[in-house]
Symmetry: C2
Subunit: 362 residues, 2 copies
């Protein structure tokens, strides 16, 4: 295709073209070895270097303190919804959850299988339009941890602050905004993320966990679900998803090369501002209902005043090579996911299209 | 490289070159859509067709009966070591395991976290050189299932029969020999396999399970570990490892195109015969200790009479582009894994090299 394609899918999502091109170039023969990365022993010297570099590059990018382990796991954020309580209850009965949308609700529902769940705050009474300020939160002193979804991929609600919880570990599902801006990892007990938004292909889950929280999973925990085992064995208790980790490593190198997380944050801020301004300036043709301070930089849901135009909006967008703009099946409408790999030109193309579409159909 | 490369690694293993070439060709733009398979929504029409075709092609190849579910999961065979007892105990306390080597031992050790494990037979007293005949097995009537490792990847021991257990479900870890020959799926309650030998890249686990065995996992089972949930949601309780499933689908199409499992079995039999004859005919220069009837078609461990030659054997093999022949760290020596993707020319090249090496160093 000659005209560039911009993929606004929420995940599996657009990957950096430079990364995909490198993957393609070395797919059959990695660095002259005559075999694909996919065909390498995970315990061979070449692959051990690939995974070690991936970890080190991530540590550099996020400035991860030495007392945190980096784990490359499988099963997506959904398996973390179980692994977090299994591993982090540490003898407590209670775990606290802040409900800000569909994903944090899924997390707390899964946790009920293992813990007494305290919903410390919720935005359900406010149409999920904001993150409840910490002054509203009710957190019991005897809770094992507090869980948040740092960015709600479906609702488009993002935390504008890092909660301050004293000695209680803070756990964040960062699936859809990890690596989008600098973050102080030391403020968290555990951060997890499915790869298929800002990290790499689906089938890889990243966990960053403070090491003093490890080692207290119950005896009947499946070995693969015990963070301590995975930490001790360098994510190689068994064969890891080698190709997905290799690709994540290339994404990390791409992030370093393009200026790291501070430069990425500046691009992401400009992209989000451009798109939200276009929505707010449409005289109601498009609407995003989220409180401005909690508008996600990554996932921008919006509706058309006239929902009868949804279908033609999607059709005309696709003709302009603006793909996967359909909203989540639970919310309807549209959603533009503008992750790290989406260039500013892609957001500009979307904004131009939206303006022309509004003019034509107003 | 001009001279062909033959990769004898045990897994992640050699993939069919035709499949890798197709993956490379369509990596940036799948069927003119302008995006990679990795960038597609797993719930979009294109991807839904990819996964549906993969399942149907596998059903065709293995002649899977309609009352069996096919699941595309994550976590490798090692996670199945836990998921099998969690899901299949169904109120029983006891589960039976046949010990034929390192992998079946790992499986039974993990099962001890969830069940009273009965070791129904073991070859440990015979240096793991054979599969104990079923006449030796002690299987309690009140056991939940009997678990075998159909092929021991490290030891190179393969079942030469399908056990007959009446109403007791038979469970097989088929990771390293699935799709290597026709098998009567209806004789099994459950078959599982990590992908990285005969199916596709690491990070995908295949489960084939009789549907009447589902739905009795305990209430505190992590949702992702409940076969019934995965079956009901078509392996899409959350985002599956989309790229690995796509590649598995291409491998299934390659198998169909090259004659299906009967033709593959004939090629695999010839490959194994050629290699074992070369070992047995080396006048003791090379040795494989396994009982002939239980010699694996897929994994051929062998030792050199003079272990001091191991290093130079591996070096000279590599110069001939015969890669990853080093034996498993637990056994030492050599191992040639000759999975489906290894052509007969590759085994011939290995046999020629071994003959020349023996002549030179005898």
């Amino acid at each position: 295709m000659n005209q560039p394609v911009y993929n606004f899918g929420a995940g599996p999502a657009m990957l950096p073209p430079a990364v995909l091109e490198q993957v393609q170039a070395e797919l059959l023969d990695w660095h002259g070895r005559g075999i694909s990365v996919m065909e390498m022993s995970h315990r061979g010297a070449d692959y051990m270097q690939i995974i070690a570099e991936a970890e080190q590059d991530l540590r550099d990018l996020m400035n991860i303190p030495e007392n945190y382990k980096v784990l490359f796991l499988q099963g997506g954020a959904t398996l973390q919804f179980a692994m977090v309580p299994i591993n982090l209850l540490r003898g407590h009965h209670k775990a606290s959850y802040v409900q800000t949308g569909i994903w944090s609700e899924k997390a707390l529902n899964e946790a009920r299988r293992f813990a007494e769940v305290e919903v410390s705050a919720s935005n359900a009474d406010r149409q999920a339009r904001l993150v409840p300020p910490q002054s509203e939160w009710q957190v019991s002193k005897d809770t094992a941890y507090v869980h948040i979804a740092g960015n709600e991929t479906i609702g488009g609600v993002e935390f504008d602050f890092v909660p301050e919880l004293g000695d209680i570990p803070l756990v964040s599902d960062a699936s859809s905004h990890i690596l989008s801006r600098p973050v102080d990892v030391s403020r968290f007990g555990l951060i997890y993320a499915g790869a298929q938004k800002n990290i790499g292909p689906a089938g890889l889950t990243l966990v960053i966990v403070r090491e003093d929280l490890l080692g207290q999973a119950p005896a009947n925990t499946p070995t693969m679900l015990d963070y301590a085992v995975q930490a001790k064995e360098g994510s190689m208790h068994n064969t890891p998803p080698t190709f997905a980790i290799y690709m994540a490593g290339l994404v990390f190198k791409w992030l370093k090369k393009t200026g790291g997380l501070q430069a990425m944050a500046e691009r992401n801020a400009r992209k989000a501002e451009l798109l939200y301004q276009s929505i707010d300036g449409s005289a109601g043709f498009y609407t995003n209902p989220i409180e401005p301070r909690n508008r996600s930089w990554m996932n921008v849901p919006f509706t058309l005043k006239n929902a009868n135009l949804d279908k033609v909006f999607l059709q005309e967008a696709e003709l302009q090579h603006l793909l996967q703009l359909k909203g989540h099946r639970l919310l309807g409408g549209m959603r533009a996911s503008i992750y790290n790999a989406m260039p500013e030109t892609g957001v500009q193309a979307l904004v131009d299209f939206m303006r022309d579409f509004a003019r034509k159909h107003n």
